[in-house]
Symmetry: C2
Subunit: 182 residues, 2 copies
């Protein structure tokens, strides 16, 4: 990126989608590109957040909403101070995503769409198998609902696009919105 002047605003890049859809993969590539450009970035990974902000919370709708609200609070603080916050969290409920969208300056929602048969076939963590056998009572997409965004800023189809294509769509949207510029 040498020789070019990169600037960015504070914003929140929110990846939502089923477990295994590719949220973390795409978000890590975006993070890397942003860091290489010199951006101030924080990734609020679901696991890190559960450890630091939400230990003890479960997976009921109420607990999930509390968890997402806490992540949203941190994103709000980061974004309004010029930092880019990247979140990769299943965040299955539409209403709570909309609630935090209202609170956050420059909220960019990325729906990582992937059919349930594809993610359950991949089954990276072996969780779909367990859930489908009835051993995980609150597993999103199997035994718990997932509500896709109605108007996300970007939809990524991870089953039919390459990771590079998906990443480029997100990047182009950030430029189009004027949130990053060279």
């Amino acid at each position: 990126m040498t020789g070019r002047s990169f600037t960015h605003q504070g914003f929140t890049l929110w990846f939502t989608g089923l477990s295994g859809a590719g949220k973390s993969t795409i978000s890590r590539i975006i993070e890397k590109r942003l860091r290489e450009a010199g951006a101030r970035v924080e990734v609020l990974d679901g696991d890190v957040v559960r450890e630091n902000l939400s230990k003890g919370l479960g997976f009921s709708k109420e607990d999930r909403d509390i968890n997402i609200r806490r992540i949203g609070f941190v994103c709000e603080l980061l974004s309004r101070n010029g930092v880019i916050a990247i979140v990769a969290a299943i965040s299955p409920y539409r209403a709570i995503r909309e609630e935090i969208r209202e609170r956050i300056l420059n909220f960019v929602e990325i729906y990582v769409e992937c059919p349930i048969d594809v993610v359950s076939e991949r089954d990276v963590k072996g969780l779909y198998k367990k859930a489908m056998a009835g051993h995980l009572p609150q597993f999103t997409g199997v035994s718990d609902p997932y509500e896709p965004p109605l108007h996300p800023e970007v939809i990524v189809h991870s089953a039919s696009e390459t990771t590079e294509e998906s990443t480029n769509k997100v990047w182009a949207k950030l430029e189009e919105l004027g949130l990053i510029s060279f």
Copy 2:
């Protein structure tokens, strides 16, 4: 501040002390001065944090520690991204304050010292009266311990100094540490 060039690093300014000692008062003045100079500042007020990060937690040692750890996590993210985080929280336990000091880039601890007879005489919120009558079983300084810092960056004696004197001490320390400069 016009005509002068102000710069700052990311750091966390942590005010600890008894309820009513003057933590919020001093921290708000510092916040105002920093904002007027053009700094990026967030105040993590005890009440705001309890609402957004720690709803449901009580005042046992364990719950207080969890609360402080969550505040510390947010301060860590802000400070390492160049933002100034200001915390005014009783934070009575030394060990947990030391724990987050280790995690945070540029941790500045301000002990707002005020004798118990002075704060209980002021009793702005009427809590000391209740606690002394035995109605608040976990009230710091009365029915719960307060462990003063052993090596804080600044000690402010709010019973014997003016607010301006206390504020200036903090400000001078920030300059001395190279965290703010003109």
